[in-house]
Symmetry: C2
Subunit: 429 residues, 2 copies
Amino acid sequence: MTTLEKMNNTQLQQYLSSLSHSYEEVQAQKLKLDMSRGKPCPEQLDLSAGLMNCLSGADYKAANGTDCRNYGGLDGIPETKELLAWFLEVRPEEVIVGGNSSLTMMYDLIAKAMLHKIPGSQAPWSKLPQVKFLCPSPGYDRHFAICENLGIEMITINYQSDGPDMDEVEKLVATDPAIKGIWCVPKYSNPTGITYSDAVVKRLAAMPTKATDFRIFWDNAYTVHHLTDTRAPLLNILEACRQAGNPDRVFEFTSTSKISFPGAGIAMLASSEANVNWLKKQINIQTIGPDKLNQLRHVRFFKDQAGIENHMRKHAAILKPKFDLVLEILESKLGDKNLASWSKPQGGYFISLDTLPGCAQKVVAKAAAAGVMLTPAGATFPYGKDPEDKNIRISPSFPPLSELQQAMELLTLCIELVSAEQELAKRGL
Amino acid sequence: MTTLEKMNNTQLQQYLSSLSHSYEEVQAQKLKLDMSRGKPCPEQLDLSAGLMNCLSGADYKAANGTDCRNYGGLDGIPETKELLAWFLEVRPEEVIVGGNSSLTMMYDLIAKAMLHKIPGSQAPWSKLPQVKFLCPSPGYDRHFAICENLGIEMITINYQSDGPDMDEVEKLVATDPAIKGIWCVPKYSNPTGITYSDAVVKRLAAMPTKATDFRIFWDNAYTVHHLTDTRAPLLNILEACRQAGNPDRVFEFTSTSKISFPGAGIAMLASSEANVNWLKKQINIQTIGPDKLNQLRHVRFFKDQAGIENHMRKHAAILKPKFDLVLEILESKLGDKNLASWSKPQGGYFISLDTLPGCAQKVVAKAAAAGVMLTPAGATFPYGKDPEDKNIRISPSFPPLSELQQAMELLTLCIELVSAEQELAKRGL
């Protein structure tokens, strides 16, 4: 029972009136804060200042002699593969280094699967009457936007504490040949913060699928993005698929977008050699090669695994107080009221908050009307439609602590306000 | 009549024997030279050494305050648009700045047209029974590879001295609704070196097309790549299309690949605002934005139009002696023999050479067998098939002068040798 339900009508009306008054006071402050995206803050970007000029006019050669200024090198220079492949625990021949965006690698791959047979396909997906993807939700809005753009039907799958509802996933993929893929953010998931358990990874790798060209799109975006010294373990999905006899089942993605620079990092894809060889032939038509100087820059700056791990501790030192502040305010303002629940992530970029059903859109709109932009309610679900209208994604990384405090106090106020209005409406008042 | 045709049988056999002897001598030198691609040489890349470290940890903001390290900015920062838009004589709102490859922008655009309706389309091209492109040839092999990869049927159009055979082009596009595009390299064309005349540009802009979604793919790759002070004028195609009442007909492309670094330059597309707005909506699904730091780097290094023009003169100073050497050797070895003809370009990266019909593949094979790799014969035609087997693309830019001399002496020797063998075969000897 919520605190509101325990109030009598008069108490509820007085409470609402007091909340409305507080809200008007915040509106008068004319805030202008943006918490809509998981953007690193300038202090985080300053950590990589050395990346800006770590090359010189004479330092442009890869260890194998490749002139990184010139054309060529479809899949990345060896030292960049080595620098990054350890996070995914993959071998260099399973890797393609891309440009500055793993999202682009995902979109491009699916666009190619629409136009060409991928290994195991009977036909390009655009030639089929229907293509469907499973979308564990709440999830990443840009994954869902790719599906929507390419006319891929999305099926919402509920998240449990250790990954997608695997009973549901197994049942669906076993019977429907139109289901060609599943989106997964397996570690410090966007936005729920959960990490897939070994059991879930093994079931995904081993489950029988009706489609012969079913693929897991494994967006391992936050693999080294720990907030504490407790690092969530995640099973190696390529290895799990290989052991289960489905070596070509997975395409894994990662990037340095939230390690070095969001706009000027390096993206990477890992998959079986069969998939990688197929994809390299396709990419060869699309480009004469990615920016190898930026690859070399990352090697010079980060040097090795220890360099990246040390760097990620500096990110955590900036991010952890922000996450802590958000959680403290949620706890202090809403902790005993049963009006919302939220995640307490050990890594990644988001806190996932659930209001009472039917409140999220109104809360986000009220926050916007008082100058705080949040990710649109519903964005974490396929087609932007949260079936219960309750999920809100909180992105604590960008605003400074003082602004974050203002924004969170407003958000919690809006949650109380909208919940109270709803309770009042429920009573017909 | 060729010099060979004038010989009697004995003379011809003696001549061939002497050529074969010379060829064996070259083979003994075990050359290992690569003239297969239009790659800038290291000395050209050294001209942009200052680009490597012209930013600093504190210099990351665009003039409008954008943090170029972070996410965002789909179409490029304003000063980069300004730096590059002058070559194409277009307005900033007609421009999308991309990643490091204009080829990627071309491929992506056509892949998008396969999957989505572009402005004017009745249906995505992949839903049509047939899509055809006109391919003025000899042309750029990577354009043709995109068509082949995407299942687009290519129709070869002959080049004349001022552009494609426009009578043929006009006749075809007026009647066949399946013809959706034409590839053009309008200035210092790859490989012929020609520049389209005003009359050709105007006819392309104005011609009636049966397809409502016909597009010109205007790859203006060599627009500032002059070899001499005589600059070939080229009419502004966007303006010509606008004046002809076909404002959405053209997508124009360029890049700094052969201005700054081939692997780490900046690509750009220009088109009507309607096309640009449509494309931005599509690109928004594919990426969170291109590498803005690399854009800023180019602005800092080149500064302005004068900076680029001055830089291109330095390129020309390196390239011109290489082109001159190739032309001198062709003239001195083959000038009076009627065994080959070749272009004398005023800009760009290539010399286009025509052997006697039926000889090009054998010449390229013989050169390879003596250690000189040329662009595969036929590569300059759709499907890699030169109908007369006579065109060879010479790329003088990469090898140093001494190697270029060796390579060209071998090439001319191979032309004489293969021509003599053919003449002998013709006489049944």
